[in-house]
């Protein structure tokens, strides 16, 4: 089959690779119908995260049709049209049973190698680094999905592919980030970042009952999306140097009840990350990447919630004292998609959630390298590049 492969830093190529096959009894093989770029991909494309190997098939946000099922698969059937979260979860371990699916104990084949980096290993992510499992990704014609009964969610009739695609990663990540905020009537939620995850976090905050949502980014077209599609109020931090003062005034001097950081690693793909793309220096990256998060920490009201969706490495000058003295609750995770997908599909069916506007650009798989170049450089107002393999 054809697949988009990482061959080295800033070197993506479409290659012919072996077709995936059923290996374990709970596997299915999916024919990919749609797959999309994520800002976190840019991190290994640029060479900032280790443990990629040349030839790795990338991509982790996708949907497809079931082509083949393993002998122990009970619920999923051949021909099912499904959407699948990017993190692989077994459904049986203590973490899965406590709805902490991305922390699954049983899906990362490289758990022993990842453990020293984090203290304990996480679940695996499709199409990402070998520390996160090394499973082949979704920018391909076919894909093996382990633990299919846990990860495959049947798409209800009447929903188009592009309405469902982002329920694989951007939507559950954003929804989880808003869920972390424990939103009460009257709450104001501020979201840093208007990429796919940030926009979904804003929309989810409204779905979960926020009174107002304030979005912070620097790209006018993305801020417009936040206003037009979601109803967020927006701050362009390039035009508004003192974001904290503006937030202070917009919230009657209280500060937002909850702040969501949807920048982090996605910073390379959306919002403030554009600056770092130019900088190309790891030290600068680390320093600058902290700014959005530090701003969120300063902005959040006393006793409020800081919800971190952006992915970070090791940060220096982390203002823990501000969090401590203000009594801020910090919540964070990689997406627990299996927990949120049923709810998200319900919202989609009711017409309350339609992320299809994120799919600003379509490409064939063969155009993969060009699509990522555009995505990285934010050419032509691109938010997400979508492949139809």
């Amino acid at each position: 089959m054809r697949a988009l492969c990482w061959e080295g830093v800033n070197d993506l190529r479409v290659q012919t690779v072996p077709d995936p096959v059923i290996v374990n009894p709970h596997d299915v093989i999916l024919r990919i119908t749609m797959s999309t770029t994520c800002g976190s991909d840019l991190h290994f494309i640029d060479g900032y995260v280790p443990s990629m190997l040349p030839g790795d098939v990338i991509g982790h946000e996708f949907m497809g049709v079931v082509e083949d099922v393993g002998p122990e698969v009970k619920k999923v059937k051949k021909g099912d049209r499904v959407v699948v979260p990017s993190f692989v979860a077994c459904g049986d371990c203590w973490y899965c049973q406590h709805d902490l699916y991305s922390l699954c104990d049983n899906t990362n084949p490289n758990a022993e190698l990842q453990a020293p980096l984090l203290g304990y290993p996480t679940g695996a992510c499709f199409g990402y680094t070998h520390a996160f499992g090394g499973y082949a990704g979704s920018h391909a014609q076919y894909m093996r999905v382990p633990h299919a009964d846990v990860g495959c969610f049947q798409v209800p009739e009447g929903l188009r592919d592009e309405q469902v695609l982002f329920l694989s990663d951007a939507a559950p990540t954003g929804y989880m980030g808003a869920d972390f905020c424990d939103i009460k009537p009257g709450d104001i939620v501020a979201v840093w970042g208007c990429g796919g995850v940030g926009l979904m976090a804003q929309q989810s905050a409204f779905l979960l009952g926020a009174e107002r949502v304030i979005a912070i980014d620097r790209f006018p077209e993305r801020l417009k999306m936040a206003r037009d599609h979601i109803g967020s109020e927006t701050i362009n931090y390039v035009e508004t140097p003192d974001v904290l003062a503006v937030l202070h005034e917009m919230t009657g001097g209280r500060g937002p009840d909850a702040c969501i950081d949807a920048v982090g690693m996605e910073a390379y793909g959306t919002g403030p990350g554009y600056l770092y793309d130019k900088a190309k220096q790891t030290l600068r990256l680390v320093t600058d990447r902290g700014q959005a998060l530090r701003q969120a920490i300063m902005a959040v009201r006393k006793g409020g919630t800081l919800s971190i969706l952006g992915v970070y490495g090791v940060m220096d000058k982390f203002p823990i004292g501000v969090l401590m003295n203000k009594g801020v609750t910090v919540r964070t995770a990689q997406q627990h998609g299996q927990h949120y997908l049923p709810r998200l599909l319900e919202h989609a069916v009711k017409g309350e959630l339609d992320p299809s506007y994120l799919a600003t650009h379509r490409f064939s798989l063969e155009d993969g390298p060009r699509a990522y170049a555009m995505f990285k450089n934010k050419e032509d107002g691109i938010v997400r590049a979508v492949f139809t393999p």
Binding site: A3, V17, P50, S51, V57, E72, D92, A111, H147
Partner: protein
């Protein structure tokens, strides 16, 4: 494989450093037998590393290759390392009862899957098994084991029989975990040098490597198999490189 590629990380450089330290500090004097064991271990590490095809695997393969190379390049055998042994123990919590886990471990076919990343195991009867560890060049290291103690819900203990290439014993201990967490499982492996003279260097290498790569992986494989009925794997994982997995 390019050692300069961004494949390193704390996980693997630790292993490589441990091995490097071992090699530089390593007894300047080694008997023929010790050299043979070092060669075999180097080969095992290389094989494991190549089979894993991961960032750790690459480092491991390099480390194993270095160990092999050192021994092969050594011009003359030197004698005199101290007797040393390697023993490692690691624990994991598995969401099954101690009785179930004991039954799984003793069930035919379970051990070969749990240890499949390391050794090929043929169970000759309920208590005896034949272990083979393949190394490059068509060589292999093998031994027979006998279960010497088995108490349901508590432990299984085994040891190698006389004539083993690398004499060893091991045990799997079970104790209930608090709340709904299942059972705490401790796996202990103890390697004894052939003839009682495993070199200090090799023992140190074993001490650095075995916990993570053999015991840690074995425990995770046991847990995954017990909890889900399968072991996560990258076998036949599509990629644009020649498949060695």
């Amino acid at each position: 494989m390019d050692a300069g590629s961004p494949l390193g990380g704390p996980a693997t450089s630790g292993i490589a450093d441990a091995l490097k330290g071992t090699l530089s500090r390593g007894a300047g004097k080694a008997s023929q037998e010790q050299r043979r064991v070092t060669l075999i271990l180097g080969g095992v590490l290389l094989t494991l590393g190549l089979r894993r095809i991961s960032f750790g695997g690459v480092a491991l393969a390099l480390a194993g290759g270095a160990l092999l190379y050192r021994e092969l390049a050594r011009r003359s055998g030197q004698a005199g390392a101290e007797t040393n042994m390697a023993e490692v123990a690691r624990s994991i919590t598995i969401g099954k009862s101690a009785d179930e886990l004991h039954r799984f471990w003793r069930e035919g076919g379970y051990l070969p899957r749990v240890m499949g990343h390391f050794a090929e195991i043929t169970e000759t009867d309920m208590d005896q098994a034949h272990w083979t560890v393949r190394v490059p060049g068509g060589r292999s290291l093998s031994w027979d084991t006998q279960v010497v103690e088995s108490r349901p819900g508590e432990l299984v203990r085994w040891q190698s029989l006389p004539g083993a290439d690398l004499p060893n014993w091991g045990e799997m201990r079970l104790r209930p975990a608090p709340g709904d967490r299942g059972t705490e499982v401790t796996l202990r492996l103890h390697f004894q040098p052939p003839g009682g003279t495993l070199g200090a260097a090799v023992a140190r290498a074993l001490n650095g490597l075995v916990p993570s790569l053999l015991v840690g992986d074995a425990l995770r494989r046991f847990k995954s198999l017990a909890e889900t009925g399968e072991i996560p794997t990258l076998d036949r994982n599509p990629s644009a490189r020649a498949s060695t997995a």
